[in-house]
Amino acid sequence: MKATDRILGLVGSLIRQTLVIGATLLSLFPVYFMIVSAFKTRFEYIEDKWGLPQSLFWANFNTALAGEKFFIRFTNSSVLTVGSVLVSLIIACLAAYAFAKMEFYGKRTLFNIILSLMVVPPVVMIVPLFVAMVRWKLVNTYQGTILIYTGLLLPFSIYLMTNFFRTIPREIIEAARIDGCSSLRIFWNIMMPLSAPALITLIVVNALWVWNELLIALVFMQKDELKTLMVGIAALRSRNYVDIPATMAGLLIATIPIVVVYLFGQRYFIRGLTGGAVK
């Protein structure tokens, strides 16, 4: 009995290891492909698509950077990401606090309406939004685009933060209230610090989304000096000679900041998911 158990256990863990390693290789391969291709010459790429490069061909990075005004694009993406993530975070938390810890007329209906806005695809909104933005003179401005991103991020952010705030025990708030704290103080001094993990989750998820967004950036940031990194990358495809290694170098540069942010925030990110965001 014991022996068969052990064999079964061994087989079990062998199967598990194999499957997990398989899945890991699968999820890493495209990234590997991007990295090795970025260092190959065009000729090398045609000859051998998946092998390691014979030597590191850095010229691809020059081609990618020079061709696409990389630093301006990078700055634009950063401004939009930081701006909209911060603004949406504050606004969403305020609203989420009301939804989670206050009673008021129309609460359920409002919450449901906001939730249902999560499914509105951005493409649907582009035409009317564009008309509106022109009327408000906000096309081709950071503020205008940040406003749009903030709006689009709000439903999910409110939903996530409301769920998290609900897990914070009512007693803490009651105690603070007896001590004479106003709601705003409770919000800043108790709710926000207690929600650090959830906030970090939200920041990571939202920052990723804004950084990677293509459609709105394409339409609302049309001036050359305002274009974002993703728009620059999407345009790599229609160059007059498709240089796959240089394209890959461009993709690689655009990807690195995200991976760095995640690796730094990973610990908090996972803690945030654990703490109520998923309940």
Binding site: V87, W188, L218, V219, S238, N240
Partner: protein
């Protein structure tokens, strides 16, 4: 400390919000009367490498002559050229000068009121020098000016032809000879013709290059578009059958459906394929990579006997002035500047592409291949038919249809049927556009 930081963040956010809520932020377009700023959205570096360099130089020179004018040129990508301008038109805000392909690609915007006629802005005597004005004429007015000419020769690789035993003095000029050439090339393991259909555009080119051969004029295609002829009529439908013959004879690269237009052309430059349905705007760029000696140009082999079969497909890519521009006069002045002798010659020097102006000094053309192109343009220019059908028909029938043909999903007859159905759908869905098209047809 922590509290301080939170307050700071809050303050920043509040100030940001205040910035968002007030619609009265100053607009950059409301420039005072004296200094003039012109914005150009353009495309073309993608098909005429060197265009960017020329435009930068032209702008610099113009600004030197007109110190109060600043010009900003934004190069659009192929996929964003039309969508970006559509949204600008919806907003009545955007560039002063916009790049347009010919025919419907220009006139659809004339019809929607996004661009203005140039008759009052550019003197008739000047306009008379521009080539292919017919593509941009509607209601007796000219809605844009040609910039450069873009034609479609067949480009071949002489050394691969020689290797396969194809006589360079007797190039294939009928359909049977083309198919025979495919067999010879396949025998030595070379892809006869390469192309890329994934991003769609090449499907439109194939229509334009092959679809015309039984017909006499672009009017025939406008007629079918407005429903007075059918795309299923044999004269219109035959090209699907002919394209299918090439496919059956294994003339094409096997991966045509999974690569983009540009990658298809690249296979020729890499020496992997012997022929392409090319674009003469690319010739100089390719020559820079592989040398003029490794290229030759020929006319597209014939299967049909319509007048168009003997023409060399050519269109003028051009520029127009938007209806919301506050500086139409200045914009027109700049457009005329691009057509001054010195600029025309510089254009050819940088790109090897013919400018759309008959004042261009043709003695500059020294490459035999470019001389040949020039000769075809002068002697037998014919319309690019993609410019004379609704863009919906182009995309939903030509782009989609060629992909379906090569995927082996639809027969040529079914594809002719599809084209007719899309045209019918377009007529039903867009009574307004149809009316404009009818007016255009009966000009």
């Amino acid at each position: 400390m922590k509290e301080m930081r939170l307050i700071l963040i809050l303050l920043t956010v509040v100030s940001l919000l205040a910035g968002c809520a007030q619609p009265s932020t100053p607009s950059p377009t409301e420039a005072p009367a004296e200094p003039v700023k012109l914005v150009i959205w353009w495309w073309g570096e993608q098909e005429a490498p060197g265009a960017q360099k020329w435009l930068d130089e032209t702008i610099a020179e113009y600004q030197k002559l007109h110190p109060n004018v600043t010009i900003e040129a934004v190069l659009q990508s192929t996929d964003s050229l039309i969508p970006a301008f559509q949204s600008a038109a919806a907003a009545q805000q955007g560039p002063d000068i916009q790049y347009f392909w010919g025919g419907v690609w220009t006139l659809e915007f004339a019809w929607s009121g996004a661009i203005v006629p140039l008759d009052d802005l550019i003197p008739a005597e000047e306009r008379a020098h521009y080539i292919n004005n017919f593509e941009r004429t509607y209601d007796g007015k000219l809605w844009g000016i040609g910039w450069y000419l873009s034609g479609n020769p067949m480009v071949y690789n002489p050394s691969l032809f020689k290797k396969a035993g194809i006589d360079l003095n007797d190039l294939p000029d009928t359909w049977d000879e083309l198919i025979a050439a495919c067999d010879k090339l396949n025998a030595i393991g070379v892809t006869p013709i390469s192309g890329g259909l994934k991003d769609g555009w090449f499907g439109g080119w194939l229509f334009s290059i092959l679809g015309r051969q039984n017909l006499d004029s672009e009017k025939d295609f406008m007629k079918a578009s407005i429903g007075e002829a059918k795309f299923t009529d044999p004269a219109y439908a035959e090209w699907w059958e002919r394209l299918n013959q090439l496919k059956e004879a294994k003339c094409w690269n096997a991966d045509i459906n999974s690569i983009d237009y540009q990658q298809g052309q690249d296979q020729f430059v890499q020496g992997k394929s012997a022929m392409i349905f090319g674009n003469d705007t690319f010739l100089k760029g390719w020559a820079d990579i592989i040398g003029w000696d490794n290229m030759g140009v020929m006319r597209v082999p014939k299967y049909g006997s319509g007048k168009l079969a003997d023409t060399y497909v050519v269109t003028a890519q051009g520029l127009g002035i938007t209806s919301w521009s506050k500086h139409k006069k200045e914009a027109a002045d700049f457009l005329m500047f691009t057509h001054t002798q010195d600029r025309l010659n510089a254009w050819f020097k940088y790109t090897g592409v013919l400018p759309a102006d008959n004042r261009f000094d043709t003695t500059q053309i020294d490459q035999p291949i470019l001389k040949q192109i020039f000769e075809w343009v002068v002697e037998s220019a014919g319309p690019n038919l993609e410019n004379f059908i609704p863009s919906m028909v182009d995309e939903q029938a030509n782009f989609t249809g060629t992909q379906l043909l090569f995927a082996g999903d639809k027969t040529p007859a079914e594809l002719a049927q599809l084209t007719e159905e899309v045209a019918q759908k377009w007529r039903e869905q867009n009574p307004d556009q149809l009316q404009n098209f009818v007016n255009w047809y009966s000009r």
